[in-house]
């Protein structure tokens, strides 16, 4: 990453090659369409290249940090969008899910981790899962979610917290 910050285009390319799919997948999950996902990933990676956002190891591993940059861009993009209303935020409709035919050790680890996280999410009660998805992948604020689901704001906040606590307990070492 230091090489990237010094302007090494090939180092940047290597980072894209390693993390581009995860970044695009996340952007697509949030934006819901490929064109918007491409714009989000392009903006996010260019912001990294231009050092307008800077990585430091204290912020966690590079992949997590890059994904947080993409997540922020995607949510900003959603919130700017005039069509940001009751968009469906479930994972259905993703047509081009691809399992790599041969996985490296790192990819196997990430796939296993992703499966663990998805299992933990699947175990959440539906009402808790919904508020988490609307917030984290839908970009809605707690009060928007309360309006949308026609429930008190305090209930939404409570469900968010309960869901995160359960996820943390369910994931244990996986997210330590």
């Amino acid at each position: 990453m230091r090489l990237v910050q010094r302007g090494d285009a090939r180092a940047f390319e290597a980072i894209y090659d390693r993390h581009g799919t995860a970044a695009f997948s996340l952007a697509y999950r949030i934006a819901g369409n490929r064109v918007a996902a491409e714009d989000i990933v392009q903006e996010a990676f260019l912001s990294v290249w231009r050092s307008s956002v800077r990585y430091s190891p204290e912020r966690g591993n590079l992949r997590s940090w890059l994904l947080s940059v993409v997540h922020n861009r995607a949510i900003d993009s959603l919130r700017r969008s005039v069509v940001h209303t009751r968009r469906q935020v479930d994972s259905e409709g993703i047509e081009d899910r691809i399992e790599a035919p041969e996985l490296t050790d790192g990819e196997v680890f990430r796939r296993d981790e992703a499966n663990t996280v998805r299992s933990a999410m699947d175990r959440l009660p539906e009402d808790q899962l919904k508020v988490v998805q609307l917030a984290y992948f839908g970009g809605f604020t707690h009060s928007q979610i309360a309006d949308m689901l026609e429930m008190p704001l305090g209930t939404v906040k409570g469900r968010m917290r309960l869901a995160l606590d359960k996820m943390r307990d369910g994931l244990g070492e996986a997210v330590a």
């Binding site: 581009g20 695009f24 996340l26 392009q42 997540h71 984290y136």
Partner: protein, 234 residues
């Protein structure tokens, strides 16, 4: 604005970690966290959960055009940063790919490969190839594409496809690119030659073993529906 208690902030921790607080409330929370060790500890405990959620989404391959476009900008900016010593190579964006996502179609490659015949590495009849590039002449199925020539100039992981005198595809149909990686086929974009039968564009070849073109319905196909009209073996 009313004064908030510690309990008010504590109640908002879940929403804060999920990024679901309105901007002003998030700013207030951040100020509170700076001075509240217990709330900060709770946030630190829950934050890895959302980080893991980011890594858990179903994987979707980005289109090759995304990298091509990104790297074009990055290479140009890197050259500018380095000064005027090395000018970036002139490239056109391969706009055919825009809005597309690749689809790997395992097994189809075998069928398509069976249609392939000899491929030649030839001198470049189109001119303009750099000394470090290789020019590959397309093997064209003359029953499907009676006129025209095509070459692929390969330079590292990038290439430039150049068509001359290519016929327009039938009405309602387009040409579509496919990239073969071993036994899988990756979907590329669609295109139509210009009225004079020419078409030039840059493509990101990556690790593809072969690049093929088929004729598909307008809008393109997820997997090839017919034999390739032309093929380049990289």
């Amino acid at each position: 604005m009313s004064v908030r208690s510690h309990e008010d902030y504590q109640e908002n921790i879940g929403a804060f970690v999920l990024g679901a607080l309105p901007e002003l409330e998030a700013e207030l929370m951040e100020k509170h966290l700076a001075g509240c060790e217990s709330c900060r500890a709770e946030v630190d405990e829950l934050s890895p959960v959302t980080a893991a959620m980011l890594r858990s989404v179903p994987q979707v391959e980005p289109p090759p055009s995304l990298k091509a476009s990104l790297m074009r900008t990055v290479d140009e900016e890197a050259a500018l940063r380095a000064g005027p010593v090395k000018a970036p190579r002139e490239r056109r964006r391969w706009t055919w790919f825009e809005g597309w996502s690749p689809r790997l179609a395992t097994g189809i490659a075998v069928a398509l490969l069976a249609l392939a015949v000899g491929i030649g590495v030839a001198t470049d009849p189109f001119g303009g190839g750099s000394p470090s590039s290789t020019t590959i002449t397309a093997q064209i199925d003359r029953k499907l594409m009676p006129t025209g020539t095509a070459v692929l100039q390969v330079s590292g992981r990038d290439g430039e496809i150049k068509l001359k005198n290519a016929p327009a595809p039938p009405s309602g149909r387009v040409y579509q690119l496919w990239f073969q990686h071993g036994k899988t086929i990756e979907r590329g974009g669609t295109f139509k030659p210009k009225p004079d039968g020419s078409y030039d564009a840059s493509v990101s070849i990556g690790s593809a073993d072969a690049v093929m073109v088929t004729v598909e319905n307008a809008g393109g196909a997820k997997a090839p529906t017919g034999p390739p009209v032309m093929q380049f073996t990289v």
